[in-house]
């Protein structure tokens, strides 16, 4: 197909300009910033890899790396799995389905800081309803955010609460465009249930699924606001995700170089995982 350069240009330019100016340029500045340090008077000096070597010799950094990976390794599969099931359940138009669908997406409309504040109250051992109910049904009061063992799990729970309905939408959009005749043809060939899922649904869902995988990973690796609002990285560093470390470095220790170094590391990790995800979902043609 003959495509004029100017056509390509026209299609790409507005978006790429916006990205370049408001995202890529600052990202580049941030990455470069990781190689500098600031004096208290605001003068910047080049320090090479110093910020990075300091990070690698800091236990706090390794702890937050561990916490972040643990958080994502558990949260992402749960969210995507639940979202997929939910999408399949709401697929068929039926009475009341649109109302139900709306309720699934509503948690996403609550801003991150408010979500955190509300859940902090809900799970509070003294003031919160959840513990009241747990006491009543015999399980007993749980410390949730106030316990080293439960805090991270509690964050995973609220992230799931907030995001599952949202990711469901994307998968739903993908399920909808699978034409009915494809299923009909498969039925004729005798492919049912599990086989149909593996050989028809799943391959046709690879593209939306890849999207959800990459996007969800990126968003969850950048998880920060609830930690800042609720737990301050504790108890005992058990919820100190990388982004929280970056925030502390910048706004508390006033060490911008260190903060940017951490952000760059996060960027590299997410890009690597994304690359793996692309590989994983590869089919014969480009995905």
């Amino acid at each position: 197909m003959k495509i004029h350069t100017s056509t390509v240009f026209l299609f790409l330019f507005p978006a790429m300009l916006g990205l370049a100016v408001f995202r890529l340029a600052p990202v580049l500045i941030a990455i470069v910033g990781g190689f500098f340090s600031q004096t208290i008077r605001g003068d910047t000096i080049f320090v090479g890899m110093l910020n990075y070597t300091n990070l690698f010799s800091d236990d706090g950094f390794w702890n937050s790396l561990k916490v972040t990976i643990l958080f994502n390794a558990i949260l992402n599969p749960i969210q995507i799995f639940l979202a997929f099931i939910l999408a399949m359940l709401v697929l068929k138009p039926s009475p009341g389905i649109s109302v139900l669908r709306t309720t699934y997406v509503l948690p996403m409309t609550v801003a991150a800081s408010i979500t955190a504040t509300i859940w902090n109250i809900l799970l509070n051992p003294t003031l919160g309803p959840v513990n009241g109910i747990l006491r009543e049904i015999g399980i007993g009061t749980q410390p949730f955010f106030t316990s080293e063992n439960q805090a991270l799990a509690s964050f995973i729970a609220i992230a799931t609460w907030k995001g599952t309905g949202y990711w469901m939408l994307f998968l739903l959009a993908g399920l909808i465009v699978i034409p009915k005749d494809v299923y009909e043809a498969a039925a004729i060939d005798g492919a049912t249930g599990w086989k149909r899922f593996m050989w028809i649904t799943f391959p046709l869902m690879k593209r939306p699924l890849l999207y959800v995988l990459v996007a969800d990973t990126a968003i969850n690796f950048l998880f920060f606001t609830p930690v800042y609002v609720i737990s301050n990285g504790g108890p005992n560093g058990s919820t100190s995700v990388l982004m929280f470390e970056a925030y502390q470095a910048a706004f508390v220790y006033l060490d911008h170089g260190r903060s940017l170094a951490i952000s760059t590391i996060v960027l590299l990790i997410v890009m690597s995982i994304a690359a793996l995800q692309f590989r994983l979902m590869r089919i014969n043609k480009a995905i």
Partner: protein, 416 residues
């Protein structure tokens, strides 16, 4: 496709090269103020406007939760705005050392200020911020819970001030797990502001005089003992709600009758009035047996940006907001203990309405110790706060304080 990349590069260059400095016209002040309700801020600002019609005020109220971070972002840009910004008094040295605060010695007379306000506003012997309202902490108690248990409540008489040991003894009696009632709730359960006085009551000194060394100070016996005591309140003795650090939630506990005793700020005197079901009384902040009484204090100050394009108007702003008139008005709106000596005498009728004020005055004059005015207060506070949270959770006190001291020392290096 080179043309595409070239154009993109040019666009970026073009924008970067546009150094359109958004010059604030002379006669315009950008003010970042605390997110107090509009009805408290507007009258004062309007007052300034009418007295100074040639100055345009652009005011932003930023919520307490975010004001520090927002200011950091704005100030990092090292531009001419904000012209005036509000800050926690103990950060004065930090801002001054980093070149974000203007020397106000010529505009503010140190002798008008209460001693603790003056010390908070100073750096290197000069005044760098304008105090706007102070604070103190009192021991509130629930009259009904004390009556029901037949226990004599804490006294408002300074000579009969309760010790921490007595507070704990009573709290253990009044703790009622079945009804979710706590013996004692501390408002800011993880903040150095609230808790340094415990160690100080045992004679501890939080940091070296030059503000650069914490090892040998925060990790010594007085603080180890004080924080161990603190830890027991939340664990072994179970009189206080473990892991609850949110100020607002702690306040709610007392206000809804779930705490027999409560250590909180002066403003609670007015806020609690909104909860008619609560029968409350006020006593004095506790001290350790054998030690001396030490109470927290602190204030909201505001600073002037030295890079401001209109220093003349900025100085006028400072003078206006440091006038007795404005401080009187402010006192009527929010019950912050005044920082101007004159106001204490001038507003006698206001203070006489509530006997609690006599307590507050006593504390401010005798036992209040402001936080150490060190350059690295931000770092010090944050590191210690995390240590306190972990201590609250049950870790080894001595080790944790040691670790914190080392971290603090590390961060203070940049200020040498």
């Amino acid at each position: 496709m080179i043309s595409k990349n070239l154009i993109r590069s040019l666009a970026i260059l073009f924008i970067a090269v546009i150094e359109i400095l958004h010059s604030a016209r002379a006669g315009e002040l950008n003010v970042v103020w605390m997110g107090w309700p509009e009805e408290y801020v507007a009258p004062l600002m309007k007052g300034f406007q009418s007295a100074n019609p040639d100055v345009q005020l652009k005011i932003e109220r930023i919520p307490f939760v975010q004001i520090m971070q927002t200011l950091e972002v704005r100030l990092s840009a090292r531009e001419s705005t904000p012209d005036i910004f509000m800050c926690d008094g103990s950060l004065t040295s930090s801002y001054a050392a980093r070149g974000h605060a203007l020397d106000l010695s010529s505009v503010i007379d140190r002798n008008r200020l209460t001693p603790s306000a003056a010390s908070q506003a100073s750096f290197d012997g000069k005044i760098y911020s304008a105090p706007f309202g102070s604070s103190s902490q009192q021991l509130y108690y629930n009259k009904d819970l004390f009556k029901a248990a037949g226990i004599e409540p804490p006294s408002a008489d300074p000579s009969k001030r309760w010790t921490w040991e007595k507070v704990v003894e009573v709290a253990r009696k009044l703790r009622d797990p079945k009804n979710n009632v706590y013996g004692l709730v501390i408002a800011q359960a993880d903040r150095p502001f609230q808790l340094l006085p415990l160690g100080q009551s045992k004679g501890g000194v939080p940091i070296s005089p030059d503000g650069l060394k914490a090892t040998g100070y925060i990790d010594t016996k007085p603080f180890i003992d004080a924080f161990t005591f603190y830890q027991k309140m939340y664990n072994e003795w179970d009189i206080a709600p473990k892991g609850l650090f949110q100020i607002n939630l702690n306040e709610e506990l007392f206000r809804t009758g779930k705490a027999a005793m409560f250590i909180g700020g002066t403003f609670n005197m007015e806020e609690i009035a909104k909860y008619p079901k609560l029968n409350w009384g006020m006593g004095l902040h506790p001290y350790f047996e054998g030690g001396k009484p030490v109470t927290p204090t602190g204030a909201w100050h505001f600073c002037v940006n030295p890079r401001s394009k209109d220093l003349v108007s900025a100085r006028k702003f400072v003078q206006y907001f440091m006038s007795e008139d404005v401080h009187s008005k402010w006192l009527q709106m929010r019950p912050y203990p005044p920082v101007l000596n004159q106001i204490w005498t001038k507003e006698k009728t206001y203070f006489d309405r509530n006997p609690g004020w006599a307590l507050v005055r006593h504390e401010l004059s005798n036992t209040a110790v402001p936080r150490p005015p060190i350059v690295g207060w931000r770092e010090y506070e944050a590191i210690l706060l995390q240590a306190i949270q972990d201590i609250n959770n049950g870790v080894d006190v001595s080790k944790r304080l040691s670790v914190a001291a080392q971290l603090i020392d590390r961060e203070m290096v940049k200020y040498k």
